[in-house]
Amino acid sequence: MQRSHIAVLIPAWDEETTVASVVANLKKDIDCDVIVINDASMDGTVAQAERAGAKVLSLPVNLGAWGAIQTGIRYALKQGYRQVITMDADGQHDSAFIPHLLAPIQEGTANIVIGSCTDRGSMARKIAWMLFRWITGLDIKDITSGFRSYDSSAMILLASREATLLEYQDVGVLMLLMQSGLRIREIEVKMQPRQVGSSKVFSSWFKVAEYMILTMILCSSHIMKRKRRLSATQRGSL
């Protein structure tokens, strides 16, 4: 089987209603391999994703969104992919923007490209983004977007043990990338509202408060951390 050189990674946790259409749209629009990382779903996510033509990796226990994405990145590196796209399984991200996410990497002007949509989100979310940007010094408008592309150097860094205890693909991941001197670029994209259900990360006010406090602690712990290059250990711990 001839592999495409690009893999699209989709973490999915109980997304049987939307995952098949997301995979089918991708297959229709882009020449890529679609890898769905099933985060210990209890519904028919695996069957739906496979039926739509995705390669499915099944985690035996729930690791959360970032744990699933890291699994996909580690798999992609082992399979020889040198560029990956990450997107959500709930249909929020439009595959038509993928060529725009890939272009800066292929031109060599960025290691990571973030599909930003600052129109979405409540006022509270925007204030939280502003606060995190101020503490971390990250010059990124949409720090929680899961619609991104990574080149091989970013993949190697994010597959390392150092990135394993992160919870979300947001501030922690971005700080790690920035401190390693990798180039991050943002492009504006349109995002759709969730087709079905509600956000699993922010499913209750308690979860929102927990997320805010943990992210604040994470941001504070990284203040004044110096830039460094990818170490041999990181390269060797895939």
């Binding site: 690791l63 744990g67 798999y75």
Partner: protein, 122 residues
């Protein structure tokens, strides 16, 4: 009422009992020998304080503590905090390892299913 033992003996006996329980747990393979160092150390400290109770008084005076038993309680709480923190450090290390093993399992299963799929195609 007359005391059964002098108070030094009571403290020393507690230390010896703790040390004995730790050795018993290792013997029954319920406690990893690596984890026993801390507890044996604490037991030894209790025994020393039992047999030489004036040691803590001397330390108390040196550190400016008027009522030396407070020093024992403060040190005890400090040791407990250190122990709990070290347990959380160990838990974080184990969680990292567990997550990576879980990921590796999913990756290897995925690769295995590909190999099996190719075999069936032939």
């Amino acid at each position: 009422m007359k005391h059964l033992f002098p108070y030094q003996w009571t403290t020393a006996i507690i230390g010896i009992v703790i040390a004995f329980i730790i050795l018993l747990l290792i013997r029954r393979d319920l406690l990893h020998v690596k984890r026993s160092l801390w507890w044996i150390g604490i037991a030894a400290l209790i025994v020393v304080m039992g047999f030489f109770p004036t040691t803590i008084d001397k330390f108390g005076i040196l550190l400016g503590v008027n009522y030396p038993p407070v020093l024992i309680l403060t040190l005890g709480i400090g040791f407990i905090l250190i122990k709990i923190l070290s347990m959380d450090l160990e838990r974080s290390r184990q969680e990292r390892t567990l997550r990576r093993l879980t990921q590796r399992m999913a990756i290897l299963e995925g690769m295995l299913s590909e190999v099996n799929g190719k075999k069936e195609e032939r």
